[in-house]
Amino acid sequence: MSNVEDLLKQHGKAIKEVYLDWENGTRIEEEVLEAMKPFYLEKQFGNPAITHRVGWETYDFYVKAKTTLAKPLNVQPQSIALTHSFTESNNLAIKGLAKMNKKRKKIIVSEVEHLSVIHTAKSMFSDDYKVVILPVSNDGTVNVDMLQEELDSETLLVSLQSINHEIGTIQPVREALEIVKDFDEKIFFHTDATSAFGRIPLDLSNLDVDLASFSSNRILGPKGIAGLYIKEGIKLKSIYEGQLSVETLSPDVENPALLAGFAKAVELQFKQFEEIREHTIKLRDKLMYGLHTSIERTDINGPAGNRRAPDNVNISFLGCEGEALTVDSSMNGIYASSGSACTSRVLMPSHILTAIGRKPEEAHGSLLMKVNRLNTEEEIDYVLEKMPKIIERIRSITGGIQI
């Protein structure tokens, strides 16, 4: 049926492999799997509301695991709801809030939000909601002056990411939050903190947002579980129907094995928060400036210095088409993704790169590479050694075509 094996034979295997496509697929560490194992093999943990020993053990485990999740955010464990993915967290935050608060009908998001935020907001639009999409500057920073102008007595929710997942912009969330709450305490504020959790400090007892999404797989925990911080007193309607809890709140996803992995990943990430931060910043700058210096006609996408996420490298190579770049990189053992139309499922260039004013042909030539605690300096050396030749070859295929 599938000829993929032949394809992989043709592709061959590079002597060395460097994985930098953490945005699209992650693995977990031995230690995390060890934490999950008992829940897979020994215990039938499942439903913490069940009145027998196993149910009570599950309950006990949930309390402890949620405490672990809540700690780095400096919030109460009971304010964390568990979902299957950050996509679900974002959907729940926006739709769940709108369904419980039908008086106000204006939602404000930025144009560089993750599609799970933008599409959810836009999907409300048809239900006679007003959706405002704020523009960004050319490094991806949300325009807070325009936010100020858009606020009115109809405004239900402002949803602004903490860090952009593609170009690493650290957004002025605190400033935006102050503007919103100064205007009207009753406007809800959601932040998609998926790309920020574990990368920058997020003390939610101090940064007083109402809702915050975060996810396990983004900190090398297992996929299939994510969190939504819900400030005390806020009620959300579940986005799907089933065995609801006594409250109207969406039920916690009952997946003890994944929760155990999530909690362990949180522990590991935050135990070495500063070291990981320094390590990734070092790799990031080495990779980003290394490529920028050694290869001509490159543009760094997103901000520089401490306004950039510690783990994000995004560069446009003019005269290269991004899909060809990812394939050639792959044959050299380097795995990354691109904002090129040809790699997207809808054949459009990245909405984020075009939002910051990149021409389509610049967006098509972009490469997104993320670094994390599993990457090493030696890996970056390898990438820096290989990339100039890869770019040169792709540019030679482009030849004299004017870009």
């Binding site: 394809l7 899909e323 394939v327 044959m331 499922r345 004013g357 295929i397 075509i401 870009i403």
Partner: protein
């Protein structure tokens, strides 16, 4: 499966991507054409060396700004048309190229058809600009693959407007 996830390439696509045949600008080309646009992320330049008497393509080459399947399709087409008459070359369709490549994912249709569009433009240009005459077999109306190239270029204009360039 193919309906939800774009099928990966056949091995031949990767083979030609790794070692593109007939790559590069041809300085002494009889005729040159292009199709697509960088704004769409897909553009092809096509070069033909034509024996004027026999109307046989003795050599052809390409340049490509595009994805692996775009590159492979253009390269494959240059191989297929070698030593073919212009009339024979005209008859190659996107389906022929795709088949020779072992099948292209449906989402990549436009990449393969762009190469065919570029070739046909070159053939038309040859008769119009160099021969100043149109053979019987050459249709007056644009073929599907030529139209596709036009559509793609129109899309580029739209994209440019959308992003206010």
């Amino acid at each position: 499966m193919s309906s939800r996830i774009p099928l990966p390439y056949a091995p031949r696509v990767l083979e030609l991507f790794q070692n593109p045949q007939n790559l590069g600008r041809m300085e002494n080309a009889t005729i040159t054409s292009s199709a697509g646009s960088p704004a769409c992320g897909d553009m092809i330049a096509f070069y033909l060396l034509i024996d004027e008497k026999s109307e046989v393509i003795t050599k052809s080459s390409f340049e490509s700004y595009g994805c692996a399947s775009n590159i492979a399709a253009a390269s494959q087409l240059t191989i297929m048309i070698e030593n073919k008459t212009l009339e024979e070359a005209w008859d190659f369709t996107w389906a022929d190229v795709s088949e020779a490549l072992g099948g292209l994912p449906s989402v990549k249709t436009h990449c393969g058809s762009l190469a065919v569009g570029a070739l046909r433009r070159a053939i038309r240009a040859y008769y119009k600009e160099i021969k100043n005459s149109k053979p019987e077999w050459l249709p007056t109306d644009l073929s599907k693959d030529e139209k596709h190239a036009l559509e793609e270029e129109a899309l580029a204009d739209k994209l440019k407007k959308k992003y206010k360039l």
